[in-house]
Symmetry: C2
Subunit: 139 residues, 2 copies
Amino acid sequence: MSFALDARLEADTVALGDLALCRVLATKDARFPWLVLVPRRAGAVEIADLSPPDRAALIEETAAAATALKTETQADKINVGALGNLVAQLHVHVVARRRGDAVWPGPVWGSGPARPYERAALGAFTRAMARRLGLAPPA
Amino acid sequence: MSFALDARLEADTVALGDLALCRVLATKDARFPWLVLVPRRAGAVEIADLSPPDRAALIEETAAAATALKTETQADKINVGALGNLVAQLHVHVVARRRGDAVWPGPVWGSGPARPYERAALGAFTRAMARRLGLAPPA
Protein backbone atom coordinates (compact mmCIF):
# COMPACT_ATOMS: atom_id res chain seq x y z
CA MET A 1 0.00 0.00 0.00
CA SER A 2 1.57 3.29 -1.05
CA PHE A 3 1.03 6.68 0.54
CA ALA A 4 -1.84 8.78 -0.80
CA LEU A 5 -3.13 11.99 0.70
CA ASP A 6 -6.70 11.88 2.05
CA ALA A 7 -9.09 13.66 -0.33
CA ARG A 8 -10.48 15.95 2.36
CA LEU A 9 -7.03 17.09 3.50
CA GLU A 10 -6.16 17.70 -0.14
CA ALA A 11 -9.30 19.78 -0.71
CA ASP A 12 -8.72 22.02 2.32
CA THR A 13 -5.03 22.75 1.74
CA VAL A 14 -2.26 23.50 -0.72
CA ALA A 15 0.85 21.31 -0.73
CA LEU A 16 4.21 22.96 -0.03
CA GLY A 17 6.44 19.93 -0.52
CA ASP A 18 7.93 17.00 1.36
CA LEU A 19 10.25 16.90 4.37
CA ALA A 20 12.09 13.65 5.17
CA LEU A 21 8.95 12.11 6.69
CA CYS A 22 6.00 14.43 6.15
CA ARG A 23 4.15 16.12 3.36
CA VAL A 24 3.68 19.77 4.36
CA LEU A 25 0.33 21.39 3.64
CA ALA A 26 -0.99 24.91 4.24
CA THR A 27 -4.66 25.18 5.23
CA LYS A 28 -6.78 27.52 3.12
CA ASP A 29 -8.14 29.48 6.07
CA ALA A 30 -7.03 33.09 6.22
CA ARG A 31 -8.04 33.34 9.89
CA PHE A 32 -4.91 31.46 11.00
CA PRO A 33 -1.46 30.74 9.53
CA TRP A 34 -1.84 26.98 9.65
CA LEU A 35 0.34 24.11 8.46
CA VAL A 36 -0.52 20.40 8.44
CA LEU A 37 2.14 17.68 8.46
CA VAL A 38 1.17 14.28 7.06
CA PRO A 39 3.63 11.40 7.60
CA ARG A 40 4.06 9.63 4.26
CA ARG A 41 3.27 6.24 5.74
CA ALA A 42 0.30 4.36 4.33
CA GLY A 43 -2.29 3.32 6.90
CA ALA A 44 -1.00 5.38 9.85
CA VAL A 45 -3.86 6.68 12.03
CA GLU A 46 -2.44 7.09 15.54
CA ILE A 47 1.02 8.42 16.47
CA ALA A 48 1.59 4.98 18.02
CA ASP A 49 1.24 3.44 14.54
CA LEU A 50 4.60 4.96 13.54
CA SER A 51 7.98 3.39 14.36
CA PRO A 52 10.10 5.15 17.02
CA PRO A 53 12.46 6.62 14.37
CA ASP A 54 9.45 7.96 12.45
CA ARG A 55 8.05 9.40 15.68
CA ALA A 56 11.33 11.18 16.35
CA ALA A 57 11.25 12.58 12.80
CA LEU A 58 7.62 13.66 13.25
CA ILE A 59 8.31 15.69 16.37
CA GLU A 60 11.46 17.22 14.83
CA GLU A 61 9.51 18.27 11.73
CA THR A 62 6.68 19.55 13.95
CA ALA A 63 9.16 21.68 15.90
CA ALA A 64 10.71 22.98 12.66
CA ALA A 65 7.29 23.90 11.26
CA ALA A 66 6.36 25.57 14.55
CA THR A 67 9.55 27.63 14.61
CA ALA A 68 9.13 28.65 10.96
CA LEU A 69 5.54 29.71 11.61
CA LYS A 70 6.36 31.57 14.79
CA THR A 71 9.28 33.44 13.25
CA GLU A 72 7.40 34.34 10.08
CA THR A 73 4.15 35.44 11.76
CA GLN A 74 5.43 36.69 15.12
CA ALA A 75 2.70 34.56 16.70
CA ASP A 76 2.03 34.58 20.44
CA LYS A 77 1.63 30.79 20.65
CA ILE A 78 1.84 27.75 18.43
CA ASN A 79 -0.95 25.19 18.77
CA VAL A 80 -0.14 21.60 17.84
CA GLY A 81 -2.79 18.94 17.49
CA ALA A 82 -3.32 15.45 16.11
CA LEU A 83 -7.05 14.76 16.38
CA GLY A 84 -8.29 12.69 13.46
CA ASN A 85 -11.94 12.57 14.50
CA LEU A 86 -13.05 13.52 10.98
CA VAL A 87 -10.08 12.48 8.81
CA ALA A 88 -8.53 9.19 9.90
CA GLN A 89 -5.18 9.61 8.10
CA LEU A 90 -2.57 10.66 10.68
CA HIS A 91 -1.92 14.38 10.38
CA VAL A 92 -0.52 17.02 12.73
CA HIS A 93 -1.85 20.57 12.79
CA VAL A 94 0.65 23.34 13.54
CA VAL A 95 -1.18 26.65 13.93
CA ALA A 96 0.02 30.18 14.66
CA ARG A 97 -2.17 31.89 17.21
CA ARG A 98 -2.45 35.49 18.31
CA ARG A 99 -4.12 36.95 21.35
CA GLY A 100 -7.33 38.39 19.96
CA ASP A 101 -7.48 36.22 16.83
CA ALA A 102 -10.88 34.99 15.59
CA VAL A 103 -11.34 32.33 18.29
CA TRP A 104 -8.65 33.09 20.89
CA PRO A 105 -8.14 31.42 23.36
CA GLY A 106 -10.28 28.58 22.03
CA PRO A 107 -9.06 25.86 19.66
CA VAL A 108 -9.17 26.34 15.88
CA TRP A 109 -10.75 22.94 15.30
CA GLY A 110 -14.51 23.08 14.99
CA SER A 111 -14.36 26.88 15.11
CA GLY A 112 -16.59 27.56 12.13
CA PRO A 113 -16.02 28.02 8.43
CA ALA A 114 -12.65 28.92 6.96
CA ARG A 115 -12.24 32.45 5.62
CA PRO A 116 -10.82 32.32 2.09
CA TYR A 117 -7.42 33.88 1.47
CA GLU A 118 -6.81 36.61 -1.03
CA ARG A 119 -4.91 34.72 -3.69
CA ALA A 120 -1.78 36.83 -3.38
CA ALA A 121 -1.75 36.45 0.41
CA LEU A 122 -1.93 32.65 0.22
CA GLY A 123 0.92 32.63 -2.29
CA ALA A 124 3.05 34.88 -0.10
CA PHE A 125 2.41 32.68 2.93
CA THR A 126 3.17 29.41 1.18
CA ARG A 127 6.34 30.79 -0.42
CA ALA A 128 7.59 32.11 2.92
CA MET A 129 6.94 28.79 4.66
CA ALA A 130 8.52 26.75 1.85
CA ARG A 131 11.61 28.95 2.00
CA ARG A 132 11.91 28.68 5.79
CA LEU A 133 11.49 24.90 5.68
CA GLY A 134 13.92 24.43 2.79
CA LEU A 135 11.24 23.08 0.46
CA ALA A 136 11.20 23.58 -3.28
CA PRO A 137 8.59 26.22 -4.11
CA PRO A 138 5.25 24.64 -5.07
CA ALA A 139 4.58 24.29 -8.80
CA MET B 1 15.18 27.31 37.98
CA SER B 2 13.66 23.98 38.99
CA PHE B 3 10.54 22.37 37.61
CA ALA B 4 7.24 23.23 39.26
CA LEU B 5 3.80 22.30 38.03
CA ASP B 6 1.57 25.22 36.98
CA ALA B 7 -1.09 25.87 39.62
CA ARG B 8 -3.98 25.65 37.16
CA LEU B 9 -2.82 22.30 35.78
CA GLU B 10 -2.46 21.09 39.34
CA ALA B 11 -5.97 22.23 40.27
CA ASP B 12 -7.63 20.50 37.30
CA THR B 13 -5.87 17.14 37.60
CA VAL B 14 -4.54 14.41 39.83
CA ALA B 15 -0.90 13.33 39.49
CA LEU B 16 -0.18 9.71 38.57
CA GLY B 17 3.59 9.83 38.76
CA ASP B 18 6.65 10.57 36.63
CA LEU B 19 7.92 8.94 33.44
CA ALA B 20 11.53 9.57 32.35
CA LEU B 21 10.65 13.04 31.05
CA CYS B 22 7.08 13.87 31.93
CA ARG B 23 4.84 14.13 34.93
CA VAL B 24 1.62 12.29 34.13
CA LEU B 25 -1.66 13.87 35.19
CA ALA B 26 -5.29 12.74 34.85
CA THR B 27 -7.84 15.48 34.19
CA LYS B 28 -10.80 15.60 36.56
CA ASP B 29 -13.43 15.57 33.81
CA ALA B 30 -15.58 12.45 33.70
CA ARG B 31 -16.70 13.23 30.14
CA PHE B 32 -13.39 12.00 28.72
CA PRO B 33 -10.58 9.69 29.87
CA TRP B 34 -7.87 12.34 29.62
CA LEU B 35 -4.18 12.37 30.51
CA VAL B 36 -1.82 15.34 30.45
CA LEU B 37 1.96 14.97 30.09
CA VAL B 38 4.13 17.77 31.44
CA PRO B 39 7.86 17.67 30.57
CA ARG B 40 9.80 18.29 33.79
CA ARG B 41 11.83 21.09 32.24
CA ALA B 42 11.59 24.53 33.82
CA GLY B 43 10.58 27.29 31.43
CA ALA B 44 9.52 25.13 28.47
CA VAL B 45 6.54 26.63 26.60
CA GLU B 46 6.80 25.41 23.00
CA ILE B 47 7.83 21.92 21.83
CA ALA B 48 10.73 23.68 20.10
CA ASP B 49 12.01 24.76 23.54
CA LEU B 50 12.98 21.15 24.31
CA SER B 51 16.22 19.53 23.15
CA PRO B 52 15.95 16.90 20.39
CA PRO B 53 16.47 14.03 22.88
CA ASP B 54 13.74 15.46 25.11
CA ARG B 55 11.46 15.79 22.07
CA ALA B 56 12.05 12.14 21.19
CA ALA B 57 11.19 11.20 24.78
CA LEU B 58 8.08 13.37 24.70
CA ILE B 59 6.64 11.69 21.62
CA GLU B 60 7.53 8.22 22.95
CA GLU B 61 5.78 8.98 26.24
CA THR B 62 2.84 10.47 24.32
CA ALA B 63 2.55 7.29 22.24
CA ALA B 64 2.75 5.14 25.38
CA ALA B 65 0.04 7.18 27.11
CA ALA B 66 -2.12 7.00 23.98
CA THR B 67 -1.78 3.24 23.74
CA ALA B 68 -2.51 2.78 27.45
CA LEU B 69 -5.62 4.95 27.16
CA LYS B 70 -6.85 3.29 23.99
CA THR B 71 -6.36 -0.22 25.36
CA GLU B 72 -7.97 0.55 28.70
CA THR B 73 -10.97 2.47 27.35
CA GLN B 74 -11.44 0.84 23.94
CA ALA B 75 -11.60 4.36 22.52
CA ASP B 76 -12.32 5.01 18.85
CA LYS B 77 -9.63 7.69 18.53
CA ILE B 78 -6.95 9.34 20.60
CA ASN B 79 -6.70 13.13 20.38
CA VAL B 80 -3.31 14.68 21.10
CA GLY B 81 -2.83 18.40 21.55
CA ALA B 82 -0.32 20.94 22.84
CA LEU B 83 -2.11 24.28 22.86
CA GLY B 84 -1.02 26.43 25.78
CA ASN B 85 -3.27 29.40 25.07
CA LEU B 86 -4.40 29.51 28.70
CA VAL B 87 -1.56 27.76 30.55
CA ALA B 88 1.89 28.62 29.21
CA GLN B 89 3.77 25.68 30.74
CA LEU B 90 4.34 23.11 28.00
CA HIS B 91 1.86 20.26 28.39
CA VAL B 92 0.46 17.62 26.04
CA HIS B 93 -3.14 16.46 26.24
CA VAL B 94 -3.82 12.81 25.40
CA VAL B 95 -7.57 12.20 25.29
CA ALA B 96 -9.65 9.09 24.61
CA ARG B 97 -12.57 9.85 22.32
CA ARG B 98 -15.63 7.85 21.38
CA ARG B 99 -18.05 8.39 18.55
CA GLY B 100 -21.04 9.94 20.27
CA ASP B 101 -19.18 11.28 23.31
CA ALA B 102 -20.22 14.65 24.80
CA VAL B 103 -18.66 16.78 22.03
CA TRP B 104 -17.81 14.31 19.25
CA PRO B 105 -16.39 15.05 16.67
CA GLY B 106 -15.37 18.45 18.07
CA PRO B 107 -12.31 19.08 20.20
CA VAL B 108 -12.43 18.71 24.00
CA TRP B 109 -10.69 22.05 24.57
CA GLY B 110 -13.10 24.89 25.20
CA SER B 111 -15.99 22.41 25.22
CA GLY B 112 -17.65 23.61 28.41
CA PRO B 113 -17.34 22.72 32.07
CA ALA B 114 -15.85 19.49 33.29
CA ARG B 115 -18.25 16.90 34.71
CA PRO B 116 -16.96 15.74 38.11
CA TYR B 117 -16.03 12.08 38.50
CA GLU B 118 -17.58 9.80 41.04
CA ARG B 119 -14.70 9.35 43.46
CA ALA B 120 -14.45 5.60 42.96
CA ALA B 121 -14.45 5.99 39.17
CA LEU B 122 -11.58 8.48 39.23
CA GLY B 123 -9.58 6.16 41.48
CA ALA B 124 -10.22 3.19 39.20
CA PHE B 125 -9.14 5.19 36.16
CA THR B 126 -5.97 6.56 37.72
CA ARG B 127 -4.97 3.14 39.10
CA ALA B 128 -5.50 1.50 35.72
CA MET B 129 -3.45 4.14 33.91
CA ALA B 130 -0.65 4.06 36.48
CA ARG B 131 -0.46 0.27 36.16
CA ARG B 132 -0.38 0.35 32.35
CA LEU B 133 2.31 3.06 32.36
CA GLY B 134 4.42 1.32 35.01
CA LEU B 135 3.99 4.15 37.50
CA ALA B 136 3.90 3.72 41.25
CA PRO B 137 0.30 4.13 42.40
CA PRO B 138 -0.42 7.69 43.60
CA ALA B 139 -0.26 8.20 47.33
